[in-house]
């Protein structure tokens, strides 16, 4: 009996195509009106460009009508009931020294106790100066080192591998928090500063392992509303300000930040962009004793320095390391990168 054939012609619930078309288009239009603000928000989060402009132009009139007649209220009520916020734009914490080489007075949020400000405004919180160099305690099985690993989808496979390897040590409790499609260029898509602020305020983590960049070569909006494209000077300055801000936000109270760089990519143009981002991470990390930059690049190049999806692993076997998209890591690649990160962490925390 079939989902289709069980409705045999003799008892079919027939309707004329014109009527069905009316129901379909009417239903979709009404759905769009009820949902227009959500659709508009979705479009706003797209990368700056023609496609985003197109969809914004499509949804804006609907959203206006929807708001005028309060048609968006049911959806808003539903979102509130589900505990979802609308993810507004907000400023990165001020990082006064972030752009000046050599000076990096960290603007760290106050640890623990203070209630998390939700969609917070970390800039407003006062800032104790962290020790120049964090002293990680040597963890035990009873009191394991509390590690957070997160970032964009590059951290998905890598973080899974890290969790497996960390579990094997028996003295590291790792939390995995990849936010797909996210990055530092678009806090309106995923609010990393706000999220980091909450994590820091919770006082739960002693080590932050962070990886960004693969989604970041897109337009960026400065606080004064200007949009810069990658390669422009304004872009680099704004991106550097954000990286510095996040590094400062995460520092403090003997916390260690391991900032993981991007590996080589298949597309040479994309590789160049990633190398430029790596340079920013490396330079900003060098200014801050609590941040260590971990360079994945040489782990994923051929002996001649080029890209290959298949590489010899540490055990000498040639394995597929990269996803066919030429960007992401697959399991063996994730394991390899995780080993490198874990080695640094073990040295810092004196884990045998």
């Amino acid at each position: 009996m079939s989902g289709a054939t069980r409705h045999s012609p003799r008892q079919r619930l027939g309707a004329r195509p014109r009527r069905v078309f009316g129901v379909m288009v009417g239903g979709l239009l009404l759905a769009v009106l009820l949902n227009a603000p959500a659709l508009e928000q979705g479009a706003e989060r797209m990368p700056y460009g023609r496609e985003r402009d197109f969809w914004l132009a499509v949804w804006k009139p609907f959203a206006a009508v929807s708001r005028a007649f309060f048609l968006d209220e049911p959806r808003n009520l539903l979102d509130r009931a589900l505990g979802r916020s609308d993810g507004d734009l907000f400023e990165l914490p001020a990082a006064p020294g972030g752009e000046e080489p050599g000076v990096a007075p960290p603007a760290t949020a106050t640890p623990a106790r203070t209630p998390a400000p939700g969609r917070g405004t970390p800039a407003a919180t006062p800032t104790p100066t962290p020790d120049p160099r964090p002293r990680l305690r040597t963890p035990t099985a009873a009191d394991p080192l509390r590690v957070w690993i997160g970032g964009d989808s590059m951290v998905k496979v890598l973080g899974e591998a890290f969790l497996r390897q960390a579990a094997e040590t028996g003295v590291i409790a790792a939390t995995h928090d990849p936010q797909l499609s996210s990055g530092l260029t678009r806090p309106d898509f995923f609010d990393w500063p706000g999220h980091f602020n909450q994590l820091v305020q919770s006082g739960r983590y002693e080590v932050f392992i962070v990886m960004f960049g693969a989604n970041d070569s897109q337009g960026i909006k400065t606080p004064d509303g200007k949009i810069f494209q990658p390669g422009e000077e304004g872009w680099t300055a704004e991106y550097r300000r954000r990286v510095a801000g996040v590094m400062d936000l995460l520092g403090g109270q003997d916390r260690l930040v391991l900032w993981v760089g991007q590996p080589i990519m298949r597309s040479s143009e994309f590789s160049e962009r990633m190398a430029a981002l790596n340079a920013i991470y490396r330079e900003e990390a060098a200014k801050r004793p609590w941040v260590q930059f971990i360079d994945l690049w040489p782990l994923f190049t051929t002996p001649s320095g080029g890209y290959d999806a298949y590489l010899a692993d540490d055990d000498g076997q040639v394995k597929e390391m990269r996803h066919p998209d030429g960007v992401h890591l697959v399991r063996a690649g994730g394991e390899r990168a995780a080993r490198a990160i874990l080695a640094v962490l073990k040295a810092e925390a004196k884990i045998p």
Binding site: G3, L13, V23, R45, D152, S153, A167, L180, K319, E320
Partner: protein, 503 residues
Amino acid sequence: MMPAESFRQSPASDEAATMQDGAAHPPADAMLFPTVDFAVFFVVVFAIAWLIRPWHFWWRVFLVAASWFFYGFWEPKFVLLLIGSTAFNWAVGRDLAAMRTPEGLTRFGRWFLGFGIAANLLTLGWFKYYGFFVEDVAGLIERFGVDLPLPLLQVTLPVAISFFTFHAISYLVDIARGDCEPLSPLDFALYLSFFPHLVAGPIVRVTEFAPQIRAPLRERVIDAAPAFTLIVAGLFKKVVISTYLAGEIADPVFASPASHSALENLFGVYAYAVQIFADFSGYTDIAIGCALLLGIQFPQNFDSPYRAWSLQDFWRRWHMTLSRWLRDYLYIPLGGNRGPKWFVYRNLFLTMLLGGLWHGAAWTFVAWGAIHGAGLVLEREVRARNRWLRGAAAKAVGWFVTFHLVCFAWIFFRAETFGAAWEVITRIATAWGEPSPAVTPLLAAVIAGSIAAQFLPKDLFRRFEVAYSELAPAAQAAMLAVALVLIDALGPEGVAPFIYFQF
């Protein structure tokens, strides 16, 4: 995320690049059913298709063009592969028909059929199994001292190739068996590439499909209520249930079993069982509903599989169009039920083993097929010896055992490696007493509710459809709109792609 080239897409939809398991690499840019793109596409196709329906020839031309556009939306160059497969199989089918005699195919005809099938399988093999062969099989052969100098290539697996290859093979075999006559090039192109079934089935037979597109239009009537019900239910399963369970527990548990307790691992497996059902049956429900709106009936693909009380029963309810394909084009040619008992068991086991490999190029899929094959053989053997295995109590025990055997096999289907599968199993066996924060009452309720829903009487849906069809159009539209908004609100931001895309 999907960095680099695909920035033209919304970041949310870029999840397609990574939210996937095992060997399948779903595409980032495919036109997924639950997207605005597809809704717009479908409304336009619907309107034009019914406007030109009286011009039978142009109606078919239009549907072929729409299907190719749908396919090309993902990767234009692979439309050529689809067209190539269409042309090749159409020509082979036409020639095969000429080689039929009242006693069956001529000797040359049998060779020719073999050639046609082999060409299809080789194409599938190149795209789907090359990497697996080079990395795993060649490695095995090398251990015996034979060095295979094969280049390591990353071959992009075209969406839907497994499905259109199966359609093509069934067409050739049906012609060879005399079950159907060759189609015209246009009808065959429509059969192979009709967009509702193109990407992930159901696997429709030519004898089911051809009469529907050949028949002149009798009355312009659409089974709208069942179609809308299927589409909305499918969207709910795919967008809400499947993504919730994947994100909440199935993905984290399978990513790192050691970081989760026994209870979490156990619920991770249950959650995956429901997730893959909701995902796959949801997608085919949408496909069946869309086809119905265009006036084409597809066969049912799922029939409440988790109410099965035996493995045999399960396979009559799970991915039904694949089960019957495997039965008719693999099990029966292998010898089927004819012959001594152990011969039949061998056929059963081999069929499931190959069915497993079809799902993905990895040994874990082979293991999944082997578990089902061995389970089916064992079940037959036990039932042949124990006539008392009837009655309600036996059925209840049968249900419990069947469900858990199916879940056990899913561990291998989902895990990336044998090591990971084994870790899930050992954690379930040993890690009791640890805290299980991931197992929440809501999660347990969603899993239990999804399984319990499979025991609901079918009549309930039918009554809903009748009531819906009697409503005024405005009320129907309003209900549709409310359902869509609810699904969008309950669903996550950005839907993980369909697991079965590239199987």
